[in-house]
Amino acid sequence: MQRERWSSRYYFIFAAIGSAIGLGNLWRFPYLTYKYGGGAFLIPWIVGLIVLGVPWLMLEFGMGRYFQRSAPGVFEGIGKKWEWLGWWAVFCAFLIDTYYTVIMAWSLHYVGSSASVAWGAGEAGAAGAAPFFFDQVLHLSSGPTVLGAPIGALVGFLALTWVVIFFIIFKGARVIGKVAVWTVTIPWALLIILLIRGLTLPGATEGLNYYLTPNFAALGNAEVWFGAFSQIAFTLSLGMAGMYAYGSFVAKKADVTNNAFITSFSNCATSFFAGFAVFSTVGFIMHTLSIPVGEVSASSVGLAFVTFPVAISMMPAAAGFIGVIFFLCLFFLGIDSAFFLAYGGVVRPLMDKFGWSRTKTTAGVCGIGFLIGIIFTAPGGLYWGPDMLDRAVCFYGLLLTGALSCIVVGWVFGAKKLREHINKTSDIKVGAWFDWLIKIVVPAGLLFVVIYGGFIHDIPEAYGGYQMGILNGSHIVWIILIVSLGLSFLLQSRKTKVPVITSEESEVSKK
C-alpha cells in the first residue's frame, strides 16, 4: 500500500518548522539567553544546533524515510528487540500533548479575557494579573494533593483545542501540510506586530540590552553550555517520535539534509526574533513599574500569563488588541506542535502497528487525550501536568529516548549506512563527521543534559519540593517513566499487522 505523502516539499518544510516552533521559542529561549550571558549565550547555542540539533533531526527524518514508518516501525526495522524504544517516545509524545493542549486552552481563555483586559487596566490591573491567572482562571490549589474538580471553562476550551486538532489531522499529511503553512505564517505575522508594539514602548531598549549584551565570561560556566544544549534538545521537537513519521511521508528519493537545515535554522531564527518581542516588553515593565529585571518573570507560564498581562494593563494604547494578538500568537505557536505530537507522535505509529483506520485512530487518540487533559484543568492540575508530567516525559523521556535512539541507530543500524542513504538524494552531502556526531556527540550531549539538569537534582531532592504521603515529586516522575517504559515493552510484544520494509526493498520490488 502506498505510504501517504506530503503534497509538496514546501508543505513538508512548513509542517516540520511548525512542529519545531512552539511555546518554548517564546518563553524559554529569550529567558535563557538573558540568564546565561546574553549575546555570548548565542555561541554555545549555535554550536549546539550544529553538533546536536541538525544531525539528530537528519537522523529522525532519514530513518523515517528509510523504513517508511513512524518511530516504532523504524526501531522494529532495526531489530524487533528495539521496537520498545519507538513506543517509549510515542508515550512521551502522547503525554506531552495531554498537558500541552491544556496550556493552549489557557491561551484561548485569555484571548477572550484580553479583549476587555479582564484583570484590569493601569497599575491596579498590573497588580491583579497574577491573582487573575492563579485564582480566577486556574483556581490553583495549595499543592498536588488537592486536585479538586475540573474548571468548566477550561474544559470547554480544551475540548475546542482537541476538536481543532482532530479536524486538522484526520485526513493525514496532505491536509496537515496545507494547514501548517497558515499555522507557521500567522504566528510570524503576530510576532511582528508584537515586536513593533514592544519597540515603540518606553524602556524597550533597556530590555533588549538585558537580552543581548554579551558576557563572555559566562562561557566558562558549564551551566551555560547545559542551558544551550538543553534548549537545542527541546526546541526541535525531537525525541517525541513525530519527526520519524514526518520523515516517512517524504518521497523515497527526496532530500533529507537540506530540509533538516532549513527546519533547524528557521526554528532558531524564530526564537531569536521572539526574544526581541519578549524583552522589549520586559523592558517596558521595568521602566513603567520601576522594578529591576530580576523581579520580572521572563520565562515559562509566568511570562505568558502574568508578565504579558501586566504589560497589557500598562500599555498606553491598544491594550486589548495587543492582548488578543499575543494570546492568539501563543495558540498558533502551540497548535502545530500539538497536532504534530498527536499525528506523527501517536496516530500514525498506531496505524502502522495495528492497521487501524486513520479516522478511528485519530478520534480515539484525541478523545483519550482530551479525557486525560481534563485532570490538568482541575485546580491542582498545574502541579501534575505542566510540572511533574512535563519533567517526566518532556525532560527525562525526551532526552533518554533521544540518546538511546542515537546509540541504536549509530552503532546497531550504522551511522555510515544512514549517511550513505540520505546522501544519495540530498541537496547537501554530509561527511563522515555525521557518523561521529550521531554515535558519540549527540548521545553524550543529551546525557550531559539529563544528568546535569536532572538526576543530580531529582535523586537527592524531591522534584518541586512536592510530598504526597510516602511519595514525593521525584517518585512520581520515576513512576511515570517506568510505567510508560513497561507499556512500551508490552506493545513491542504485540504482532505488527503491517510489515516493515525499507525504502531500498520497496525500490527493488518495484523493479
Binding site: 509538496s8 516539499r9 546574553g38 549575546g39 548565542l42 549555535i46 531598549t205 533588549l208 540590552n209 537580552y211 543581548l212 549584551t213 554579551p214 518521497a251 523515497k252 528519493k253 527526496a254 532530500d255 539534509t257 537540506n258 537545515f261 532549513i262 535554522f265 528557521s266 532558531c268 531564527a269 531569536f272 544519495k424 538524494t425 540530498s426 541537496d427 547537501i428 552531502k429
Partner: protein, 36 residues
C-alpha cells in the same frame, strides 16, 4: 541598545539569513526527486 547587543544582533541575523539563503540556493541540486 548598547554596542555589544547591536553587534550580537547583526551577527545573528547574518548567520540566519546567510545559512537559509545558502540552503534555498541548494534546493533541487542533490539529484533527489520529490514524487514517488
Amino acid at each position: 541598545m548598547n554596542t555589544g547587543a547591536i553587534i550580537a544582533t547583526v551577527i545573528m541575523w547574518l548567520i540566519f539569513i546567510g545559512a537559509l539563503s545558502w540552503c534555498f540556493s541548494r534546493m533541487g541540486k542533490g539529484g533527489g526527486e520529490w514524487e514517488g
